[in-house]
């Protein structure tokens, strides 16, 4: 089973790598056939990785999210899965895949180079049903937030910047999504980014407000799951340590990330802050998540340091 898990891991990594290249080629040549190849590779990689994770669970006789290697693998799985489902299938945006796969490849490469450990049982303090719930929700929530804030939002900002440069050439349409509703009595958007609407699309990426909307949708779902994960973690901490909140570095940084993404959601519903400013807040949230994952796990004296790294 360990061998199955390892083999499929490498199959998945290979598919993601090839898929990433194909997506980028698609961005350059914009041929539907190339996109179909890229999309198929991503799906094959996803299935291989799913097999890898399940095989790992059987090899270790427990849920496959007990140390940093497994967490990284799960995170890559969910980022790719959510991208395929929410961005490509539901929102019909075909241009984000390469960047999501790049994140997955990066995460998996780091996992296998630095964090790998064979399947083994858990420490007693980790052996709890709340662990299963808390850690899984945390992986799912933070992976969604990463997809939204670390993959889609940067593309949104880039696209906005491109549109800003092209703005004079594009017909300005008043029927854009963000045109002020009668209730808000808002002036026309001051940042003058409403240059999409029925106008023909320019450049490769879909119009910036589509990306904005997709990012917000993914971050909203991620935020809800993340909130649940923090609560489940508090319940677990109460069972394991007798304190539901201890300002442990990881708890602190989860709180920081939570506050930043809460600010993002508030900013998006505020006229003056939606768009670019909200996107920059989301980028800060992405940074906080990365710090939580890499710095707190590896560099700080935290009760959450269960990375289980090779000694």
């Amino acid at each position: 089973m360990t061998q199955v898990s390892l083999t499929t891991f490498w199959v998945a990594l290979g598919c993601y790598l090839a898929g990433m290249v194909a997506y980028f080629v698609y961005l350059a040549v914009r041929r539907e056939a190339v996109y179909r190849v890229a999309n198929t590779l991503a799906w094959i990689g996803l299935i291989a990785q799913l097999v890898s994770v399940i095989a790992r669970a059987f090899a270790a006789h427990r849920v496959p999210w007990g140390n940093m290697y497994e967490y990284s693998v799960m995170s890559a799985l969910i980022v790719v899965g959510a991208e395929l489902i929410f961005v490509e299938w539901r929102a019909k945006v075909k241009t984000v895949g390469g960047f999501a796969l790049a994140y997955a490849v990066f995460t998996m490469a780091i996992a296998t180079m630095f964090f790998y450990r064979g399947p083994e049982p858990l420490q007693p303090v980790l052996d709890s049903v709340w662990l299963k719930i808390h850690v899984f929700a945390m992986i799912a929530g933070s992976s969604m937030l990463i997809l939204g804030s670390g993959v889609v939002v940067p593309l949104y900002l880039w696209k906005r910047w491109r549109e800003g440069k092209q703005a004079p050439a594009v017909e300005v349409s008043g029927s854009g999504e963000d045109a002020a509703a009668p209730e808000e009595g808002a002036p026309a958007d001051l940042t003058s980014d409403e240059v999409h609407g029925g106008a023909p699309r320019r450049g490769i990426l879909p119009s910036s407000d589509v990306l904005d909307r997709v990012a917000a949708q993914i971050i909203t779902i991620g935020f809800f799951i993340f909130t649940f994960a923090v609560i489940a973690g508090a319940i677990w901490a109460e069972r394991a340590w007798g304190r539901y909140w201890n300002w442990d570095p990881k708890e602190t940084w989860s709180f920081v990330s939570w506050v930043i993404f809460a600010s993002y959601l508030h900013a998006r519903s505020t006229v003056a802050w939606k768009g670019k400013r909200a996107a920059i807040i989301a980028l800060a949230g992405f940074a906080a998540l990365m710090i939580t994952y890499y710095w707190v796990n590896l560099g700080s004296a935290s009760l959450h340091s269960y990375a289980g790294l090779p000694q």
């Binding site: 009668p182 508090a234 570095p249 940084w253 506050v259 959601l265 004296a301």
Partner: protein, 510 residues
């Protein structure tokens, strides 16, 4: 002067009421929390603080005076916290009032449907406007709208709205957040957290004095300890061959203050024991060998388990694997003249220690001991293991494997009759339990559920308003609809098209 103060206060109050202030305070709180995660905190990393004190005395004193070693207990953190509480309340009360008013108020008519963001007109097959409205009402209801009939300057109109839950959920979420802040203060303030070591076979009563000094009681705690007791029968620690811990189990029995049994308990990580609102958590463990000290004439001078501890890592030195460190303790014999202390050092696995390997189990316990004479310094009330031996004089030493004893000559000690014999008949363990009472747990749980429920409703629903009216133009019945959305407007545009297609089949919206 007075009016200036009043003005300043009113400005402060008004700015506290804005959402931006609340968010700013939250961000400020997370900045403070980041500081707390970067700088070592009291209680969590005392050793690191000690290191800073040695290496950078100035930085240590600056941090210390700013409360940076205890961020979460500092006055400025509390200030942010209290301001956040006030700001949330100030935000929420007017919003809640507005929400309740909006829920109770009758829906208004829309005089000019054509002016709305989404608008469509089309002829329908219904014979009368009345029939068309009746049909429209059913369709709107089926799509989750709350529909009311209103009067638009003589023309009957349907006013439909959906998504009141969004604001309701958002309010629930924010009130629950407030409840969390209150629950934290109340739970910590009215409860306590203590740590206690109990040797196998001993019974411990939950009362203030029995924590020695290892207890933190909240500000509103009124000394009503439970007085329940716990008898520890056994402690087991098991490790896998790889050295990874497998299980830590304290087995015992709980008794109420009258001595009636509350049942057997097994305390393990993730499985605390609970009685009378007090929880016992498995925290750590250690060795407590039974040590018997006898005088030259066979009189027993001391016969009790001795709690042994491992030396803390030194500041500045790299950390040492705890399983390679010896266990240290002291037996005090104050009745002898001069007074005598026996310093003990135990190795749980002598064979492992001989080759420098970590001791995973107490496979081959041996004890080294040193006898000191002098003043025990009993008046200073220090814990036994912190007895100051530097002012005493070493007069002998010995070596005892478990089950045996060793005798040293101690001439000149009054009451020892020439020799002291140290016996080590049995190795027991002590379990370290964390004892906690937090009365805020139920509040927190309710608040957490409300947070999730509120968030789900708020993020999942969207506010839409739609009006429909029908009129007769010539021989045709014409249906007119208009509406707008407060969230996800692009999505609403599509929904409006499909909605109107259902209201007026075979037509297209304008």
């Amino acid at each position: 002067m007075l009016s200036t103060v009043r003005q300043a206060l009113s400005i402060a109050w008004r700015s506290l009421r804005t959402m931006r202030t609340a968010l700013l305070l939250l961000l400020l709180m997370s900045l403070a929390a980041i500081a707390g995660s970067l700088i070592p905190q009291e209680g969590a990393s005392d050793l690191a603080i000690e290191r800073i004190k040695i290496a950078h005395p100035l930085r240590h004193s600056v941090y210390s005076s700013l409360g940076l070693f205890d961020v979460y207990g500092s006055w400025w953190f509390t200030l942010i916290y209290v301001l956040l509480l006030i700001s949330l309340v100030a935000c929420l009360i007017p919003r809640t009032r507005g929400f309740l008013r909006a829920v109770r108020s009758a829906p208004t008519s829309a005089p000019d449907l054509g002016a709305l963001r989404a608008h469509a007109v089309a002829p329908v097959d219904d014979a009368t406007p009345e029939a068309a409205l009746l049909r429209a009402r059913t369709i709107l209801r089926r799509r989750g709208f709350r529909v009311r009939r209103v009067d638009n300057a003589g023309v009957p109109q349907l006013a439909a709205r959906k998504g009141t839950a969004r604001e309701g959920g958002s309010l629930l979420f924010h009130w629950a957040l407030l409840l969390i802040l209150v629950g934290v203060v109340w739970g910590r303030g009215a409860g306590f957290t203590g740590v206690v070591a109990i040797v196998e076979g001993d019974t411990w009563v939950e009362a203030h004095a029995n924590y020695q000094t290892n207890i933190r009681e909240g500000r509103f705690f009124n000394e009503d300890h439970s007085n329940i007791s716990l008898r520890v029968d056994d402690f087991t620690a098991a490790y896998r061959s790889s050295g990874m811990p497998e299980a830590f189990i304290t087995t015992g029995e709980l008794f109420d203050p009258q001595g009636r049994s509350l049942g057997q308990v097994q305390i393990q990580p993730n499985h605390p024991a609970v009685a009378h609102g007090v929880r016992f958590y498995q925290n750590a463990y250690g060795y407590a060998p039974l040590v018997v000290v006898t005088a030259g004439d066979g009189r027993t001078l001391s016969d009790a388990p001795v709690d042994l501890e491992q030396a803390r890592d030194l500041p500045g030195a790299p950390p040492v694997d705890a399983r390679t460190k010896p266990w240290n303790g002291i037996v005090r014999l104050p009745s002898l003249r001069p007074q005598v202390a026996v310093r003990l050092q135990m190795l749980p696995d002598a064979q492992a220690a001989a080759v420098g390997a970590p001791a995973v189990t107490a496979a081959d316990p041996v004890m080294l001991f040193w006898v000191y004479e002098g003043d025990l310094g009993l008046s200073s009330m220090k814990p036994i293991n912190e007895t100051d031996l530097s002012s005493m004089r070493e007069i002998g030493s010995g070596f005892v494997p478990m089950g045996e004893s060793d005798t040293v000559q101690v001439p000149g000690i009054e009451g020892a009759e020439g020799t002291l014999t140290v016996g080590f008949p049995e190795l027991r363990e002590y379990t370290v339990l964390q004892v906690v009472r937090d009365r805020g747990i139920a509040i927190m749980l309710v608040a957490a559920l409300c947070i999730l429920g509120g968030l789900f409703t708020a993020l999942g629903s969207t506010r839409r308003r739609v009006w429909v009216q029908a009129s007769t133009v010539g021989s045709d019945t014409v249906l007119e609809a208009g509406g707008y959305a407060l969230q996800r407007r692009a999505q609403f545009d599509e929904q409006f098209v499909t909605l109107f297609a259902a209201l007026a089949p075979h037509t297209e919206s304008s």
